[in-house]
């Protein structure tokens, strides 16, 4: 197999589709988006189909993720933000499942594609902006004017606030994308050391032990990162939604 660490991010067409001269092919990335949706929705659907008063283990996993996101959103954006619960829950479950699916060998990691994470981040920021203006009109712009800032500093602070707001979709998407990408490349590189060193004979096999240990350790770390990045994405989404629900409250 290829030893190239970026080979795993290549997109291959499975069903070529072209509409109006634009390539909309069903690719391996599309396949894993479908798989992510199937796995996440299937898990949530099947584990809760009993509607048990006393939950089974798997049902309590679904309930825990529900309550986890619900409390996160309530803390982050208050009760007014609870109308965004389906959105935050979908984002969290989608990203978490996509990250975890990517941990399987030979599986494609859709969150390692900048366009995917950027689209998700734009979805969040777009919702924030749209809801903010819809709910508060131009009062939403109070978001950029913090309380208690001296008049002299105000233009500077407002400029900083605007820049920080505009950089949000970038930081939100790049954080997830870069974490997944870097983790998978690191894994691949260390695993590549194992194979290339062990090809060098007895001494090489001995020397391959260290990268093997590293590979195992990084795999564990990556599972943590998978969860953590989904969590961070959801938490930041809650914080940004808080701005839409309560502008000027910070």
């Amino acid at each position: 197999m290829s030893n190239d660490p970026t080979h795993q991010f290549l997109i291959n067409k499975i069903v070529p589709i072209e509409i109006g001269g634009i390539d909309f092919s069903f690719t391996n990335a599309s396949l894993f988006m479908v798989a992510t949706v199937g796995a996440a929705a299937g898990f949530l659907y099947l584990t809760t189909s009993q509607r048990g008063l006393v939950p089974t283990r798997l049902q309590s996993v679904s309930e825990m993720s529900y309550e986890f996101i619900a409390s996160m959103l309530r803390e982050g954006a208050g009760n007014g933000g609870m109308k965004f619960f389906p959105m935050v829950f979908s984002l969290f479950m989608f990203i978490l499942t996509a990250n975890l699916l990517g941990m399987f060998p030979y599986f494609f990691t859709i969150t390692s594609q900048i366009i995917v994470t950027f689209a998700l981040a734009l979805f969040v920021i777009g919702t924030v902006v749209f809801y903010g203006f819809y709910k508060h009109g131009f009062g939403f712009l109070k978001l950029f004017v913090p309380h208690g800032v001296p008049g002299v500093l105000l233009p500077l602070v407002v400029a900083i606030e605007i820049i920080s707001f505009l950089s949000r979709p970038i930081s939100l998407s790049v954080r997830l994308f870069a974490n997944m990408l870097a983790g998978h490349i690191t894994l691949k590189v260390f695993a590549g050391f194992v194979t290339s060193l062990s090809a060098l004979g007895a001494l090489g096999i001995g020397g391959a032990i260290l990268p093997l240990i590293m590979t195992v350790a990084i795999t564990g770390l990556e599972f943590l990162v998978c969860f953590l990045q989904a969590y961070v994405f959801a938490v930041l989404t809650c914080m940004y939604l808080n701005d839409a629900v309560h502008p000027g409250s910070h």
């Binding site: 290549l10 997109i11 092919s25 992510t36 366009i115 490349i185």
Partner: protein
């Protein structure tokens, strides 16, 4: 599209075949991540390869949209319903439990009260029985005592009778004895009156 046309053909081949192709192409891979994978002319880092952006966006919109719909229409109402049912059930059970506890407390209180009345009644009955037994015993004893004293009195009467009769007899015997003794001793006769006087004088 023109860049990836070859990939469309390759996509049906296996991973191993692709790897073989790559190896055959003599690609030298580094771990810097700046690779020249696959196609000639597609030297861009795969995640930044904009040729697939449209396809990715479309399929992300389709899949995530579907996922969002599934979550908001099916999964979230369902899990929310489960949690609410459980919450309600727990609250209901707690209410039921406190109600039952109240009932149990009331039952215990009424039991205690009944027990107290029963005890009091029992005491009363026992006291009454004891009193009755005591008075009956006293009455019996009195009756027995009265009977006995009556019998004693009768016996005393009889004894007194017998005694007087015996004493009277003693007088007659003494007189006869005295007459006989006097007759024997002096051969004379003494009148009965004298004897009686003498006996009486010698005293009873």
């Amino acid at each position: 599209m023109f860049v990836t046309a070859a990939y469309a053909q390759q996509s049906t081949t296996t991973e191993g075949a692709e790897a073989h192709d790559a190896a055959a192409a003599g690609e030298v891979h580094t771990e810097t991540g700046v690779a020249h994978e696959g196609e000639a002319g597609s030297g861009v880092f795969p995640p930044f390869d904009s040729t697939h952006f449209a396809s990715q966006l479309l399929w992300l919109a389709i899949t995530f949209g579907l996922f969002y719909l599934l979550m908001s229409k099916v999964i979230i109402p369902r899990i929310g319903g489960i949690l609410e049912t459980r919450h309600d059930r727990i609250a209901q059970d707690l209410d039921e439990a406190s109600r039952l506890k109240g009932e149990a407390d009331a039952a215990i209180a009424s039991y205690e009260q009944e027990l107290a009345t029963a005890k009091a009644k029992g005491h009363q009955i026992a006291d009454g029985a004891r009193e009755a037994a005591k008075s009956k015993a006293v009455a019996d004893r009195n009756a027995v005592e009265a009977d006995l004293s009556k019998k004693i009195a009768a016996a005393e009467d009889r004894i007194a009778d017998i005694k007087t009769k015996a004493l009277a007899d003693v007088g007659a015997i003494a007189e006869e004895t005295a007459i006989a003794v006097v007759k024997q001793l002096i051969g004379g006769t003494v009148t009965k009156a004298e004897i009686v006087a003498a006996v009486k004088a010698s005293g009873n």
